[in-house]
Amino acid sequence: MTGTECVHEPLVVEAVVSGRWPARVDEALVAHARECEVCSDVAALASMIHDDHERSRFEVQVPAAGQVWWRSAIRARLESTQSAMRPMSWMHAVTAAVTIGILLAAITVAWPMLSPLGDQMWAWAVGYFQNAEVAAALASGLRQTVMVGAIAVAVLVAAPLALYFVLSGD
């Protein structure tokens, strides 16, 4: 026996947990526990804790086994559905990226066709307005308008698509 342990300690604990302490235990062990500091502490605390455990077991309310099984089954199903949906979210993100890429490519391809339109506007403006400075300012404005318009159209088409995919991905 040391200051922190005693060879009889497991016997005392076993007697308490099996509900035999102190009435149905060897008297020598009970007598030892009275003298031994470790065993008396163990007996007192283990009795309190074990008594609390036994009483609480009868007082406590637990859900029915079927209810716990049912909730677990539903949750397992939901989780498997969610994990099955995860690749779909990735697909949406990839589709959105491809759509935006195609739109940008279309603008790049269309740009050379839009430049002659700007030159035609320039020629028309010079012919219509005899003043070259006014014509230049107007043509420059029109050219910028064409550029802004092209970007606006791209954004107007791309933004709803992107929003759709982002929200459906959630």
Partner: protein, 188 residues
């Protein structure tokens, strides 16, 4: 995240799927649950000092248990694994930031006080609950597993994740702390 809902047909399918996904049949689960649910619920309540949280963790404990792929050697192994899940869940919950709402035990909240003959015993239990609540979570686990359930040092060490050789002095210290708290009426 989108909220998933199941149709009635899917719910019915969930039961068939559960039999395949879970590690035991519903019948076997019912038998195991009847044996273990009350002690595990009491354990969770003592570890958390919160009955509502203990209810939530009880469901979570059994869900994780059912989903586990561990091969169990026998019923004792299965039971110890269940407590290990419960212990880990309590520790996980403690690590999360939250506001602790300690349970205030009063004569009204304790059923035993309705019988005057049991009042003294009930008062001792309240003292024990208060003192246990002031212990460290690991100390509570050790004392409960050792003295409420009668687990061996090896079983406790495996359950709370410490070396078997370290358990004896740790248990001794926990016991001394609890004794000290009980003597001082639960005040540290």
């Amino acid at each position: 995240m989108r909220e998933f809902t199941l149709t009635d047909m899917e719910r019915l399918g969930a039961f068939d799927e559960a039999e395949r996904t879970f590690q035991m049949t519903e019948e076997a689960f019912r038998a195991f649950y009847e044996l273990t649910a009350r002690p595990v619920r009491v354990y969770l309540a003592r570890m958390t000092n919160d009955d509502r949280l203990a209810d939530d963790l009880l469901q979570e404990t059994y869900y994780r248990f059912l989903k586990s792929r561990t091969a169990f050697e026998n019923d004792d192994h299965r039971r110890r694994y269940l407590y290990r899940i419960a212990t880990n869940l309590v520790h996980d919950h403690r690590r999360r930031p939250h506001v602790e709402t300690p349970v205030v035990l009063t004569s009204e909240s304790h059923p035993a006080f309705s019988d005057p003959g049991l009042a003294e015993r009930a008062a001792k239990r309240i003292d024990l609950h208060r003192a246990m609540a002031r212990l460290k979570p690991r100390e509570r686990s050790m004392l409960w597993l050792a003295y409420a359930l009668g687990w061996t040092h090896e079983e406790i060490a495996a359950s709370i994740g410490v070396k078997s050789g370290s358990l004896k002095p740790m248990l001794h210290r926990a016991r001394q702390r609890l004794a000290g708290l009980l003597k001082s009426g639960g005040r540290s």
